[in-house]
Amino acid sequence: MPRLYSLWDRFADWFNRLGLSENTILLGFAVGIGLASALGVVAFYYLIDLAYWILYLTPAVYLTQSGFLAYRPLLTGVGLTVA
């Protein structure tokens, strides 16, 4: 691990010595950040849908209507507690 950090430090030093213009650095990193953020958002939305499927849709299949009426507030309560 320390060796990895040392390699990264050398890479960062090398990068900072390149003398790239401010705009080049900002725009280059903006592309990477845009890409990574969008993938993060997609993963986050899938995570929400997964939680919704596990916690809401699946139990709805097995519960009676009255059981589901009682389950819904309980689910949100437990969901908030877990969060």
């Binding site: 900002l26 903006a30 950040i33 969008a38 819904r72 908030l80």
Partner: protein, 502 residues
């Protein structure tokens, strides 16, 4: 959240604002990731919270980590953090323009030209990438048909919608922080509070027929609003305010931006339906009012009117709606700030002892402390100093204000050069006059106060300096002057420690 990131109750958009203004754009990775997961559970289990907070934080955290890894200076890291927030909002709402302006308006606090290109590029790239995974759909499915039939609607009816939206936005802010305060006074165990709060929200959602929350990450279709009565829509707006306030006040995780959109849509819809009922011959379309209300309430509740306008514009892709949207949103923001000075974001920060100022100069001054600028050995006089001794101070010392202290160096007040001049010119002054008789009460600051606060307090009495005291003992520690403040400001700007993009 508490287990994996103890002590982090926030890490939402206000935290990103604070990180940019106070901590050189440094955002810790672990709490942000934990909060993202907690938000997914909150939203997925039916909590009434938005997804925009976690996604903006996620984007900002990625940018902050990159900035730290490459050892960029704070100014560059801050711009990248803003670009990350823009990318998150852009991808989540399929709204690159709104994402970019949200970052400039809310995160950086200025429409800085230098920051514009990277913020826009990140926003556009994020929108393109999210299209390919999530499709080219707006965050809120909008009605197939809407529109305003008459040009005069813009000037006659929409201003009233602006006033109503402003009132609702202020109600949202007050309810949100009132609920947070109420939850704190209950002194329940966090798990019990979350369980009770969640159950209450679940019951509210049931009562609304599920309309208060969406399905997974999908929001409610606004077409539904056109066929409802105005009372039902008004109840939905109030219900959404309550459900969001309880969800987040009881310990849930998520944002307030999406709920603000929902509250705005319900408010605008209620206004439109009521108006259409009163004036049936005008063939008014409540859906158009719902869309405009959406932009107005989100703009007013978060104090980000440009973002509100652009978000709805991008959702509808309709230039026609821009006219009523701009007017209504601006009026709503003015009305809301008149009633409630805080927005949902600034209120959250203020309640945690933070007051972020907008503007580069103010940022610099807000980031500097009195302890770095004050003179610890100013010229002072004792409270019992005689008139002759006081007049002997005329022309001596570097300052025009003389702090007056008692035997234990506690601040009594201040005597200005003008006071001394008046004493010298007045032959009727009793010979027994001492410094304490002449001193006037003075504003003071502590070493931990910001220079912005010091400048503000100097402005209260129009003095060129202000005493620095130890708040617990009242003892004078020194004097900070406008010249001292400006000197430190210039040195800081010259060394680039607080470089900002303009």
């Amino acid at each position: 959240m508490r287990a994996f990131a103890p002590g982090q109750d926030g890490l939402n958009i206000p935290d990103v604002q604070r990180a940019v203004a106070r901590e050189s754009g440094r955002i810790p990775m672990r709490p942000a990731l934990v909060r993202t997961a907690a938000s997914a559970v909150t939203v997925g289990s039916g909590g009434a919270a938005g997804s925009e907070g976690p996604v903006a934080v996620l984007g900002s955290t990625i940018a902050s980590a990159l900035g730290r890894a490459f050892r960029f200076d704070p100014a560059r890291t801050k711009v990248l953090v803003a670009a990350g927030a823009a990318a998150g909002i852009s991808a989540a709402f399929n709204a690159p323009l709104a994402g970019a302006f949200f970052a400039l308006e809310e995160i950086l606090g200025s429409l800085a030209v230098g920051a514009f290109p990277p913020v826009v590029v990140a926003s556009v790239v994020a929108a393109v990438v999210s299209h390919s995974f999530l499709g080219n759909n707006p965050a809120f499915p909008i009605p197939e048909e809407y529109g305003y039939a008459l040009q005069r609607e813009v000037l006659v009816f929409y201003p009233f919608l602006g006033i109503v939206s402003g009132l609702v936005a202020a109600l949202f802010v007050k309810t949100f922080f009132g609920t947070e305060e109420f939850c704190r006074t209950l002194r329940l165990h966090p798990a019990v509070l979350a369980l009770l709060g969640g159950a209450l929200v679940g019951a509210l959602v049931l009562l609304s027929g599920g309309l208060l929350v969406g399905h997974g990450h999908f929001a409610v279709h606004l077409d539904l609003f056109g066929g409802m009565s105005w009372t039902s829509l008004a109840l939905l707006a109030v219900g959404s305010i309550l459900a969001t306030s309880i969800t987040l006040g009881a310990g849930g995780s998520g944002g307030v931006f999406t709920p603000s959109l929902f509250v705005g849509a319900a408010t605008g819809g209620a206004f439109g339906v009521a108006l259409a009922g009163l004036l049936p011959d005008l063939n008014l379309r409540p859906e158009a009012y719902a869309l405009v209300g959406m932009g107005a309430v989100v703009g007013a509740a978060t104090s980000a009117p440009i973002t509100g306008i652009l978000l709805v514009f991008e959702m509808t892709n309709d230039y026609e709606i821009v006219l009523p949207l701009m007017l209504t949103t601006v009026i709503a923001n003015l009305v809301a700030r008149r009633i409630e000075p805080d927005s949902l974001y600034s209120g959250w920060l203020r309640r945690r002892g933070e007051r972020l100022e907008q503007g580069a100069d103010r940022d610099v001054l807000a980031g500097l402390k009195v302890r770095d600028a004050f003179d610890p050995a100013p010229h002072v006089v004792g409270s019992t100093a005689s008139l002759d001794l006081l007049l002997a101070h005329l022309g001596r010392g570097a300052y025009t204000d003389l702090p007056v202290v008692d035997d234990e160096r506690r601040l009594i007040g201040i005597i200005t050069l003008a006071d001394l001049g008046r004493l010298a010119g007045n032959r009727d002054t009793p010979a027994a006059t001492v410094a304490a008789d002449v001193a006037t009460p003075a504003e003071s600051v502590t070493p931990a106060d910001s220079l912005l606060e010091a400048i503000r307090r100097m402005g209260v009495r129009g003095t060129p300096s202000i005493p620095v005291v130890d708040r617990s003992t009242g003892r004078l520690l020194g004097l900070v002057t406008r010249a001292g403040v400006l000197g430190l400001y210039e040195r800081t700007v010259a060394t680039g420690e607080h470089r900002t993009f303009t």
